[in-house]
Amino acid sequence: MIRFENVTKVYDPNARPALDAVNLEIDRGEFTFLVGASGSGKSTFLRLILKEDRATSGSVYVAGQNVANISSWRVPKLRRGIGVVFQDFRLLPQKNVFANVAFAMQVIGKSRSIIRETVPEVLKTVGLEGKERRMPHELSGGEQQRVAIARAVVNRPGILLADEPTGNLDPITSMGIMGVLDKINQNGTTVVMATHDDDIVNEMRKRVVELRNGVVVRDEAKALYTSMIPVVGESRRMKDASDAEIDRAQGVQQ
């Protein structure tokens, strides 16, 4: 479904590459966690799938198609096959729950009757029955993220990309969101989720791809957040970790 062949992405020629010769294949229907420290290249990985950015070298294949060969006027078609969810939900504040989800169908020309039929179904899938008329500010963070997920999957994409979808949520709410993503995955959608959330990764026991400084350092099925095979030892890990992660780690200790 998604294949990276020797993909390198350089934003700034003077800095190290954001992705460095990444080779990876994600099959149809798989659920994959993308983990790694801040700045390790997780979001860049997702952006390349969406053709939001171009790979500096190497090829990205989505559904068998090299995205570099997709002309700009066919990029929308590529994106219709991919749903995206972000940490900050990105709902339209003036539209209610129903309208936010319907928006994704309106802009690609779906008919009113299909919208009226599909949106309640999808809202049910994400567990938001009866909340159609609520405005985003009348919802909890978890509920807002459910709306965002509903919007991402309402056009039935084959792939769902989630960039730290639980980053703003407490652990219990996060588990609820994971339940929704898992259900969507069970229905056949390929899910790729970038995350820092070790509890979730450990709980779900799915495939884990770990990036460090743009390099894939681990690719393990049914894995935990941290490798069970210690790479070189804790001191090495701390050296490579970003300041933010060190701060976070120290915060936990205090």
Binding site: L50, S72, W73, P76, K77, L78, R79, R80, G81, G83, V84, R90, L92, F103, A104, Q106, V107, I108, G109, K110, S111, R112, R151, A152, N155
Partner: protein
Amino acid sequence: MRLAFILGEIGSGLRRNLSMVISVVLVTFVSLTFVGAAGMLQMQINQMKGYWYDKVQVAIFLCNDSSTSTGCASGAVTKEQQDNLAKMLDSPAVKQYINDYQFESQADAFKHFKEQFSNSPIVDSVTQDQLPSSFRINMKDPQKYQIISETFSSQAGVETVSDQRQVLERIFEWMNGASVAAMVVAGVMIFCAVLLITTTIRLSAFSRRRETGIMRLVGASKTVIQLPFILEGVIAAVVGAVLASGTLWLVAQFWLNGDLSQQFLNTPFISSTQVLVIAPVLIALGGGLAGISSLLTLRRYLKV
């Protein structure tokens, strides 16, 4: 569905940026009014040329009792002098340049004068012998006026040789100058209009970046994303163009063909229907400029 959606987006965009949209309407209105005015002046010049060029003649004015020029020192033109001039006009040397000529007596001149100024009090203060008699010449080639002038101005009994065409040319030159000035003002105003449209579209794109970002992610086509912004600019500009056309029509209807035609009875003014020919040009110009400048702005400020 998509059309309804695009229309809805345009509506909300126009409402959200109402003050900017109104200023775009006003600036295009004023600039296109100047463009239209320049066009109307050109039409008026053509109209007057067509009407007068076949009519205008070179006139050889003969001395009368009140003539003061040096050629008239011996008083009013005599019958003999007049016959001599007519003979010269018939001679092959002159004849090759002219189509025909008529003699206009003082009585004829007075009649024409009365017609021309029928509703002006000046008629009462002019008497027949104050007006000169003249030969009216239709030139084969109006440019050859100089030859006639040189041949006749020094003849006895000739007060002056005048080329009416030259007088007209001066009027046309003046009108042409006015239309060029209107074009220059229009150019500056159009530049302002383009800048304003650009800024408006930029603001509009910025204030709706959340929507357009989501549209992009869920795979809305470039057209669906951009069209509402472009049409927003185009609609504002077209409204301005329609206002400009309306204004020019009112000017033609109630000023040119009202007041002015009362004052200048012999001038063929362009009709208000003729002015309507300008309207589609203005609308296309306004809409086109707005469309192009919105498109270029979006290319820079709205990622699709």
